[in-house]
Amino acid sequence: MIASGDPASHEGAWLALPWLANGRLSQAERDKIEPHVRECAECREELAFQRLLCNALTEPDRVTYAPGPSFRKLMDRIDGAGQQSRKATEPNSKTLATLVPRPSSRSRRWSSLEVWRPPGLAWAASFVLMVGLAAVFTTANRSAPAPDAPVYRTHTDTPAPAPNVLHIIFQGSLTISEAEQVLRSSGAHIVEGPDGQGIFGVAPGASGSNNATPSRTTRELNVLWARLHTDPRVRWVEPVPGEYSAGAAEAPGPRGP
């Protein structure tokens, strides 16, 4: 058993050092501990070590996980559980039929009236529809482009900018630190994923680097693809469709399992 100790004593200060390092001691606690820590070489050394631990464990991750796919799984589970509990609590239709009184012939007649439409209204609707069709036909003929008129283009005619990303699946037996090692040694970082199938998007360079020109990025992607393609720890790596327009010969296709 460790004594909780007086915070001003060596024992008390020693026990409180993790929270002095993570910044979660109150001002009153700090006022009690800090004078001792200033005087005590052992505590100062330990505090430096504690801060090292804090820094190492709060260092930004090399691999981050997008919450979307996991959240969708959770909602499926919640919805599935909701449906099951509804099924469990819903009385079956037979029971319902016996509980609800059958409508009388009079009420059945009224309920059929609810869906009946007078013929006059149907004729009116047909007339409006015909007039509308005629108007559309006339307008279409009048606005047909002349042979030399410019062809109408939608925005989607313009190709989307290349995403500069490779899609990758690691071997299933790989641990996270091994996957990080693959990326580090290949000079890549994760930019998206994983999705529901465990596919990550990776890009060349260190995490946070964003200064690549398009031509440089294509070249780097080719190099990265070649490295990952031959790595046995990578199960599958594929350029995102539309990628490698300039360097197609260098990137023959996805590496399959």
Partner: protein, 214 residues
Amino acid sequence: MKGTQSIDPHTSSESNYRGGSAAREVELIARIANGDRKAFEELYGLYHRRLARFLTRLTKRYDVAEEVINDTFYIVWRKAGDFRGDSQPSTWILGIAYRKARNAFRSSSRILAMENPEAPPPPLTSEESLKTEELRDWLVHALVQLPVEQRLAVELCYELGYSCEEISSIMSCPVNTVKTRLFHARAKLQRLLPALGGIAPTDGGVRGSSRGKG
């Protein structure tokens, strides 16, 4: 040696985050209690990264971490109406996550998979820029050698930046137990890390232990 160096607290992003968002999280939980899925998604997004990082470090497997996160938020969805604000939302959610994680770790098949020793990372280099990153690799390697309760206490304190009282609430144990767990975890890490990377004193003993043990 007398030191006059400043002992400014290490301010983690976690503690900054916690300060500004507790009220928002209370509001989200109240909306979740009324079945608001948008609020649920927002709260999930706020915690997913932290929990995924915390749990994948402990389990080394994202699928296990994801299962624990979703088990946790399944409870949050169902029990949001029971949250009375007696504790911080993050303490409540981490408390649920802690219990789910502990159960997951104790599952025998998983423990075998998780604690299956793997090759240690390469030796620490002297290059300063790499040191923190490599130290983290070593720490992850050392952490799996700690008992589950000590491992979780280390992560809650150093990574997620919780106070001793908050960890005691999350782990449902007395404050002194938290200190004891961290004391032993620190001692073991100090025994492991000098040999691993030469970053801590190698005096053959555990600093402070002679006087720290009561």
